[in-house]
């Protein structure tokens, strides 16, 4: 500090080394809040626009810096961690050891609920992590308040239940039963029977779009808007029956894992998949998405777990050894894989965002009889919920949950009044299904101009010459059986040369006629409804 007071005349302030380090850290967080590159102002010719954009860029910089500072100093809670010293490895730490070290409130989160009669259990949590719905195969549905460990409602539907999912809050949940899917209210009353879908094997809810996505036994994908009940899309995938469906929270696309080892990604507005990736040689057992949207983990029956980068659609890492029946990513990027009665948690040991190196972080083996059906990390808590054949359990995984929640996004301490207000705001912000796309940051961006530069007269002439030469020098196939008349050959050659000359229409005529910018046909199929008027009309 003495340095800075002495050297006031220098243009650069000389900071002590600790402050310089924190500046570098702050810069990386500032980058996160800036959400991408700034606008390129050099290429602009419009001076008014340039000054407006320059002042706006300054404001962005300021707000990003303030957000970074808030993140550093003002957030109330800090993330959990598990650090071992010396030769001890983190994966040898057992849940009992953790229970000894941790406070009472957290140790209450380790439990096993044994319900052997009702079959393997599937779980779902609400977005705030406060409520859980557990559905047993033999028809047991239970709605639990996790904070008070209070059973809100349990019902027995007396049919097989294949999957459960919450809708936008804990007031509604959907269950995939034997013949149809049903929507229930919080007090267990059956509200809707979704007959159109047929026998559903997997149900997922897209929160921002209020779409209930499901895949049924014949491999059909259905999207239904739960606000008014209309079926937005029913897509025949054409790849047969599949059980594996996950939603990418970053962009809302649904990924299906097929028995041929392909993973296909779908959006409701197109009948063809967005992406098809060949992930495994055998059937895909499970798919999971990282909350930042860039990573996908898939596991196949050949006992490999692969981690993919979704920006380049490349494999980043393969982990050998076990067949993971279920996968789940936590909010902080930990990957949980469950096989048999064994849960393995993998953590990213490299700090940077570009390279990923998942290695063993923690293990947990349960009683031999418990066959794991579903793993799901609980949001905003260092807890993972395990649904298995004998009920459900929960264990502590330090460092898996996001420590600071935002009350406007998901509030575990919501009152009923706040919940009602939030529901109204969610409905007002409901996104139309056309906004689902692989890169959600493209909305509002300008499309690069597709108009080609006007070719000068010489260039056109040169191209014409080249085309005529090519036409003249092509060798025609010599036909047999009396069809090889010389007159016909010359005629055909003349025709080819004429065609080559005709493909270069006169200058000026075409350019004024095609004033409207045209979009390619394949892009026209993907256009949202609002932009369809600009597509080429054929």
């Amino acid at each position: 500090m003495e340095l800075s007071s002495e050297d006031n005349n220098l243009t650069e302030k000389v900071l002590p080394p600790i402050e310089q380090e924190s500046d570098v850290e702050l810069e990386t967080t500032v980058k996160k809040y800036l959400r991408g590159e700034g606008a390129d102002l050099e290429t602009l010719k419009d001076k008014k626009l340039k000054t407006q954009l320059a002042s706006r860029e300054k404001l962005y910089g300021k707000s990003a810096k303030t957000a970074a500072k808030i993140e550093k100093w003002l957030l109330p809670a800090e993330a959990g961690y598990l650090e071992t010293d010396g030769l001890e490895k983190t994966w040898r730490v057992k849940q009992t050891d953790i229970a000894n070290e941790v406070d009472l409130l957290s140790s209450r989160n380790q439990y096993d609920i044994v319900l052997p009669d009702f079959g393997p259990y599937k779980l779902d949590f609400t977005a705030s992590g406060r409520h859980m719905i557990a559905g047993g195969r033999k028809g047991h549905l239970a709605l639990v308040d996790m904070m008070s460990m209070n059973l809100i409602k349990e019902i027995q539907v007396k049919e097989t239940v294949r999957d459960v999912a919450f809708l936008h809050n804990e007031q509604f949940f959907a269950a995939a039963q034997k013949k149809y899917a049903y929507i229930y209210g919080r007090d267990g009353t059956e509200l809707h029977c979704l007959k159109e879908r047929g026998p559903v094997s997997r149900l997922r809810f897209l929160k921002n779009h209020f779409l209930l996505a499901s895949v049924n036994k014949s491999g059909q994908l259905h999207y239904q808007d739960v606000t008014y009940g209309g079926m937005v899309a029913s897509i025949r995938t054409g790849k047969g029956r599949t059980d594996v469906m996950e939603v990418n929270p970053y962009n809302g696309v649904v990924a299906l894992g097929h028995t041929g080892g392909t993973v296909t990604m779908w959006k409701p507005t197109s009948q063809a998949p967005l992406v098809q990736m060949q992930c495994h040689p055998g059937p895909v057992s499970s798919v999971a998405f990282h909350p930042n949207g860039h990573l996908m983990a898939t596991s196949g029956k050949e006992r490999k777990l692969k981690i993919w980068d979704l920006r380049k659609f490349e494999e980043v890492q393969t982990i050998h050894g076990f067949h993971a029946k279920t996968l789940s990513f936590s909010q902080k990027g930990l990957l949980a894989a469950g096989t048999g009665s064994f849960v393995q948690i993998l953590g990213d040991s490299s700090g940077g965002s570009s390279s990923h190196n998942y290695s063993r972080y923690m293990n947990h083996s349960m009683v031999k009889g418990y066959q794991i059906e579903k793993l799901m990390f609980r949001p905003y808590e260092d807890v993972i919920g395990i649904g298995h054949s004998m009920g459900w359990s929960s264990i502590l995984i330090p460092g898996s949950g996001e420590p600071n929640f935002d009350s406007w996004v998901a509030n575990p301490f919501e009152t009923s009044k706040q919940r009602r207000e939030k529901e109204v705001h969610l409905l007002l912000d409901k996104l139309p299904p056309e906004t689902i796309m692989l890169d959600p940051s493209k909305i509002g961006a300008m499309k690069p101009s597709r108009r080609k530069e006007k070719q000068s007269r010489e260039e056109i002439e040169a191209e014409k010459e080249v085309a005529i030469e090519a036409a003249k020098s092509t060798e025609l196939k010599k036909k047999t059986k009396g069809r090889n008349k010389p007159s016909k050959r010359t005629k055909k050659k003349k025709e080819m040369v004429e065609n080559a000359k005709r493909t270069f229409p006169e200058q000026g005529h075409n350019n004024t006629a095609s004033k409207k910018r045209r979009i390619g046909e394949d892009a026209a199929a993907e256009l949202p409804a609002s932009l369809k008027r600009f597509a080429r009309k054929n």
Binding site: K32, Y33, E71, E88, V102, N208, L396, I443, G444
Partner: protein, 452 residues
């Protein structure tokens, strides 16, 4: 071995008593908010729709004159009042909040052509076609003056008769002089019965006059020989003069940038000039279909309001070529005068159908006391709408205005005419030697020459 897990105590995160506010926690991390841009787009769409739902610009009409309203004057010291004068010599002071006449100033024999208020707000100056200039003492509004039934009739404090009819009057800012426009430009003092100074150029009459708010000695006039002249009172002749293709009906100086002035022209456009460099207009504001009769700037200097012969009132941004808003009613006929209120919230228009109309400057604005949370929501809606207003769905809603049929058809005709002119120009240029056909920009095209 060091272990820490997240554990939140309920007390820290909930309120203690029911009279406390609920606790709110923020985490601005973008990874907690997927699909932000799509949500913002949806909010922009909702904001645009809400703006259209709440757009009710017409506040009320002030009824009382028996002939068309010819001019208005605003008193800068008293926000609630407005003076208006009609074609039969009737001058009234209105109370805008109750929309009633406070007092009348009878006396003029013919049409009153100009009204203005002195800087301290005590003297009202009016001039008319009966060749008189009258000065009136403005009554101070008292607290017991709520009984509006007693309409007072005020006697003129002074009456000066002169040789010719007057067309306009304006009072100096921070001074004692006022200028009248008639056969010549005349400068008067309050206490003298004849003008102190007079300027003349050629034989044409001066139709409007406006003093500069920044420099008390500079004024701009427009004459019926299609010219705009800037005079300095300290010099004996004009400072700058340009001649345009059509005559200017009214001029207004920008109160925040006093070197810029905007002229309302007979050809339906308004031209903004820099007073120091008059050979090229800074901006051409085109949207009116018929002659623009009057123009007034907002006190913020960022927008101005124009009233035109085509029965509409438009609000333009100070640097934008097209209007942001149009107001029209079936009952409003030719608009002869407009004023922007001194708190930048209202716009007043006086028209041929003897009514003064009060409109909101921002059509969907919520008037009255707004809570800070409401204010923030309005600002957020405005910002998010501006961010996405180039996208087709939002643009369609934001731009949508209902136009009366004559104006709609006239705009279509104007567009066709301009398109065909441009096409012809392009073809001429394509078929002549490059460089022979030179088009002047629109900012210069309507100015014939600058004379000194």
């Amino acid at each position: 071995m060091k272990i820490k897990t997240l554990s939140r105590s309920v007390d820290e995160y909930t309120r203690e008593r029911s009279q406390d506010l609920q606790r709110v926690f923020h985490n601005f991390d973008p990874s907690l908010r997927p699909m932000e841009k799509a949500v913002e787009y949806k909010r922009a769409l909702t904001a645009a729709k809400l703006e259209k739902i709440f757009a009710r610009p017409f506040v009320g009409a002030m009824d009382g004159h028996r002939d068309g309203v010819s001019c208005m004057a605003k008193n800068p010291n008293y926000l609630k009042g407005i003076f208006s004068a009609s074609m039969d010599g009737d001058i009234r002071l209105w109370d805008i909040s109750s929309r009633r006449t406070v007092c009348q100033f009878p006396g003029h024999q013919g049409a009153v052509r100009g009204l203005t208020v002195s800087t301290d707000g005590n003297v009202l100056v009016s001039c008319g076609t009966d060749c008189t200039v009258r000065l009136w003492k403005v009554p101070r509004p008292t607290l017991e003056d709520s009984s509006v039934s007693s309409e007072n009739f005020i006697e003129p404090a002074a009456e000066y008769v002169w040789k010719n009819a007057f067309w306009a009057v304006d009072h100096q800012f921070e001074g004692e002089l006022f200028a009248t426009a008639g056969a010549q430009l005349e400068i008067w003092n309050h206490n003298r019965a004849s003008p102190v100074q007079s300027f003349q150029w050629g034989t044409d009459s001066v139709i409007s006059v406006r003093f500069n708010p920044g420099e008390p000695d500079i004024l701009a006039t427009s004459a019926s020989d299609r010219s705009i002249t800037i005079y300095d009172l300290r010099m004996s002749s004009a400072a700058r003069r340009i001649i345009m293709m059509t005559k200017t009906n009214s001029i207004a100086w920008n109160p925040m940038e006093p070197m810029n002035l905007t002229a309302a022209n007979e050809d339906g456009s308004c031209y903004s000039f820099d007073g120091r460099k008059m050979d090229e207009a800074k901006c051409v504001h085109k949207d009116h279909v018929s002659a623009v009769m009057d123009i007034d700037f907002s006190p913020t200097g960022r927008e101005f309001v124009t009233g035109s012969y085509d029965r509409s009132v438009r609000i333009f941004p100070y640097n934008g070529g097209h209007s942001r808003e149009i107001y029209h009613t079936k009952r409003m006929q030719r608009v002869f005068c407009v004023k922007y209120s001194c708190d930048a919230t209202y716009v007043l228009s006086g028209s041929d159908d003897t009514n003064l109309r009060l409109w909101k400057a921002k059509a969907s604005e919520q008037l009255g006391v707004i809570l800070p949370r409401e204010q923030k929501k309005h600002e957020y809606n405005e910002a998010v709408k501006n961010r996405y207003k180039h996208l087709p769905e939002v643009k369609r809603i934001v731009r949508h205005r209902h136009l009366p049929k004559p104006i709609y058809k006239a705009l279509g005709i104007i567009r066709t005419v301009n398109d065909s002119k441009r096409r012809k120009e392009d073809r001429r240029r394509a078929h002549s030697a490059p460089g022979t056909i030179v088009t002047k920009p629109l900012r210069q095209r309507r100015i014939i020459k600058e004379v000194e």
